[in-house]
């Protein structure tokens, strides 16, 4: 794994179909240069906090955006979100929940945990592709990030 390279997007997605379609949508929007993929919550956390296979990485070099599915094996998306927003090192990292669920409790809890955006994946292919492309454009190109990395205390 290219542990040390800088990535723009951490895509946390367990469903292969969704993964393919998301990547395709990002590619169509020319946003796939630096995408790191995690297939479950544990992988996502190990990458972000430089554990397991990612110990060579440094936390400060975090991605510009996390696209987070909620229903994940092992550790679910909300837990991942909680860890990101609960850690001063990753707290300002923009996290967009990209999920199938319209359930009110998921939406409410996500926002309470500090999610930056909550997107429901449309069933319709065109709508899905547009949604992914738009959010990528917004967070990576239009949004002005904090501008500096918070170092661990």
């Amino acid at each position: 794994m290219s542990d040390t390279r800088l990535v723009d997007i951490l895509l946390v997605e367990d469903n292969l179909d969704d993964l393919d379609m998301t990547l395709r949508a990002l590619r169509k929007a020319n946003l796939t240069n630096h995408v790191q993929i995690a297939r479950d919550g544990v992988e996502a956390l190990e990458y972000l906090f430089c554990e397991g296979p990612h110990t060579a990485r440094i936390v400060a070099n975090c991605p510009k955006l996390v696209l987070l599915d909620l229903k994940l094996p092992k550790v679910d998306g909300l837990e991942v979100l909680k860890r990101i927003k609960g850690d001063p090192r990753t707290k300002s990292l923009p996290v967009v929940v990209l999920t199938s669920s319209k359930e009110q409790r998921d939406v409410v809890e996500s926002y309470q945990l500090g999610v930056n955006s909550y997107i429901v994946k449309p069933v319709n292919f065109e709508a899905f592709a547009k949604a992914v492309g738009d959010l990528g454009l917004y967070w990576l190109l239009l949004n002005q990030p904090l501008g500096f990395r918070l170092d661990p205390a």
Binding site: D17, D18, M21, S100, S101, E103, Q104, V123, F125
Partner: protein, 632 residues
């Protein structure tokens, strides 16, 4: 005639007169002192004395002692003064019997006017006197009897035609008429109308034949009240044996009659009562036993009467009976206490018992009447109810838990559907879309069309899932009731829906819509769904006409949405509100068939109802009542 001849003739005449006198009268002569100087034969005969026994004797020998002193003094004063005395005297004969004589005493005087002797001439009037006495006595007796009768009875006398000729005070008192009002009136004035014609006919036939009639009659007093009299009518007959008058003697038996009626009423009550009514003596012996008692305790009256009431008690009840009898003896009653008794067949029954002392006319307690009601059924029912209540509470807890579990499961199910069911659909739609996009040019036209249909199906399934989840969500959501401004709500909804019918010619008619009590968010969904439907199904009309109205039917607020659209056949109306039920083809009108199901679910959760009236191609009207009072 010569003087001597004349004298002789005179003497002879005197002798003749004397003889005639002696023949006719009782004659005695006394001296002024009353000593008897002469008596004739009739005197001797009536006084039963011999002449020798009388002559020279004081006249008082025949005194009866009957007359008062004043009477005797008057006699002597009269004759001593030389005047004739006349009167009736009772004398006593030698044998002690009395006789009455009509007496004239003539004093014979000296030249100086002093009585020389007294000549008493008497006629025997004993018989007359006795007759008089007996008449006087019998008259008095009759009067006494009459007084006694008047005192005791109601008496009326009528003539043969029934006209009243006499009434006594008691008759006036009971009939409340004065004597003047009654005399001369027909006796029918007091008829009550109670008796049959046959009864009256029998009475008249009897008395007009000279026979005594006896019976009980109900009469009517002047004030309209009724009274009963025990009546004896005695016809008084004339010489020809025809009734001359009728004497009716009566006794007031109104109280007795009333008591009889009361008694028979009570008897019926006792007899027809389902309760056991049992009379018992102070010793606890059964004296009376009604059919209710037979039914409840199983003993026939003949079996129970004369036996101790203790037979009805369970073995442990001996003290209870003793206590009850003691209470009764003190004159206390025992009200409605619930206890246990034993039937003849040994079965124990629950009874509610009331006991009251029975007093004789003089106030002495002579026994008790026990009224017992079989409450076994009631007791059993009470127990069942108690049990039911207990199980019900248990069941409610159980069901609530089940319901909560079901709700949780449903929620988990919805959650899972929300997450997992859509992902494969997205893959179906998305991957088909990718094939079309990336390899479409290499596919024949037909292949592309089929791929497009796969994508459409995926889209449609997505909508179905979304609607179903919405339906489930609205069913679970707690109802947040408050006053909802329906007019404002409708305006908001119409505003939201405007983009969907931009450019279409639509005539809206909106009534005044009063506020109602309900959940604003849910009621908004009702309006959204009903108005969306109205807009959708009136799509083919130019112009479309949509009416939003309200009416109050017997206090029930009814809101409605009417359109002039495609309508539907009323024979499918029952399917209208079911989930996924559609009355139109998807090619004609898009939709998932969940909208009206959601409407019905929301209205039902408010406690109201929803229904539709339509005609094919003539439009439809949907009515709903969000239960709860309208608020102004």
């Amino acid at each position: 005639m010569r003087p001597d001849q004349q004298l002789k003739s005179s003497l002879k005449e005197i002798d003749d007169l004397k003889a005639a006198l002696d023949e006719h009268a009782i004659v005695a002569i006394t001296d002024p002192q009353g000593k008897i100087g002469y008596v004739n034969d009739k005197f001797c005969a009536i006084s039963r004395y011999a002449r020798e026994e009388l002559l020279g004797q004081d006249h008082r020998i025949i005194n009866s002692g009957h007359h008062p002193k004043e009477f005797i003094r008057d006699l002597w004063t009269t004759i001593a003064r030389g005047k004739v005395w006349r009167g009736e005297i009772k004398n006593r004969a030698k044998d002690g019997t009395f006789y009455w004589v009509d007496t004239t005493i003539v004093p014979f005087l000296h030249d100086d006017g002093k009585p020389r002797q007294y000549v008493a001439i008497r006629a025997d009037i004993t018989e007359r006197k006795l007759a008089e006495e007996s008449l006087r006595l019998s008259t008095k007796e009759v009067l006494d009897l009459k007084a006694a009768l008047d005192e005791h009875s109601i008496v009326v006398i009528t003539d043969p035609q029934g006209k009243i000729t006499f009434v006594n005070d008691k008759f006036c008192a009971i009939s409340q008429y004065t004597r003047d009002e009654l005399l001369g009136q027909d006796h029918r004035i007091i008829n009550s109308g109670h008796h049959s014609k046959a009864f009256i006919r029998d009475l008249w036939t009897t008395i007009s034949h000279g026979k005594v009639w006896h019976g009980e009659i109900k009469n009517k007093a002047k004030d309209g009240s009724f009274y009963w009299v025990d009546t004896t009518i005695v016809p008084f007959l004339d010489e020809q044996g025809k009734p001359r008058q009728y004497v009716a003697i009566r006794t007031d038996i109104t109280e007795r009659k009333q008591a009889e009626v009361e008694l028979s009423r009570l008897a019926v009550l006792v007899k027809s009562s389902d309760d056991a009514i049992v009379g018992k003596t102070l010793a606890g012996i059964v004296a009376t036993w009604n059919p209710g008692a037979e039914k409840i305790f199983g003993y026939a009256a003949a079996e129970a009467v004369g036996r101790p009431a203790l037979m009805l008690y369970p073995p442990e009840g001996e003290m209870e009976e003793a206590r009850i009898l003691a209470q009764i003896a003190r004159g206390e009653s025992v009200q409605h206490f619930e206890t246990v008794r034993v039937r003849k067949d040994g079965k124990r029954i629950d009874v509610s018992v009331t006991l009251s002392p029975i007093t004789a006319g003089d106030g002495q307690i002579i026994g008790a009447v026990m009224i017992a009601r079989d409450i076994t059924e009631r007791k059993r029912a009470e127990q069942v109810i108690h049990q039911l209540n207990t199980t019900l509470e248990y069941r409610v807890v159980e069901r609530t838990a089940q319901l909560e579990a079901a709700n949780r499961e449903l929620e988990a199910f919805s959650y899972s559907v929300s997450h997992d069911l859509r992902a494969p659909l997205r893959a179906v739609n998305g991957l088909a879309g990718i094939v079309l996009e990336d390899f479409g040019a290499q596919l024949p036209e037909e292949g592309r069309r089929y791929l497009q249909r796969i994508r459409d199906s995926g889209d449609r399934m997505g909508e179905l899932i979304d609607d179903l989840l919405e339906f489930a969500r609205l069913s679970r959501l707690p109802l947040n009731r408050r006053t909802v401004d329906m007019a404002q709500l409708v305006q908001n909804v119409l505003g939201d829906l405007r983009p969907s019918h931009e450019g279409r010619p639509i005539e809206f008619r909106i009534d005044a819509l009063p506020a109602c009590n309900g959940d604003a968010a849910l009621l908004k969904q009702v309006w959204v769904n009903l108005l969306s439907n109205a807009l959708k199904y009136s799509r083919g009309r130019t112009p479309a006409a949509i009416e939003i109205g309200f009416r109050d039917e017997a206090g029930e607020p009814i809101y409605f949405v009417r359109d002039n659209g495609t309508g539907f056949d009323m024979k499918y109306a029952h399917k209208l509100f079911g989930v996924f039920q559609r009355l139109h083809r998807a090619e004609d009108f898009e939709g998932t068939g969940v909208g009206l199901a959601i409407v019905r679910r929301i209205v039902q959760r408010h406690g109201g109802r929803v229904w539709a009236v339509a005609e094919e191609n003539r439009g439809a009207t949907f009515y709903f009542t969000p239960a709860g009072k309208t608020t102004s």
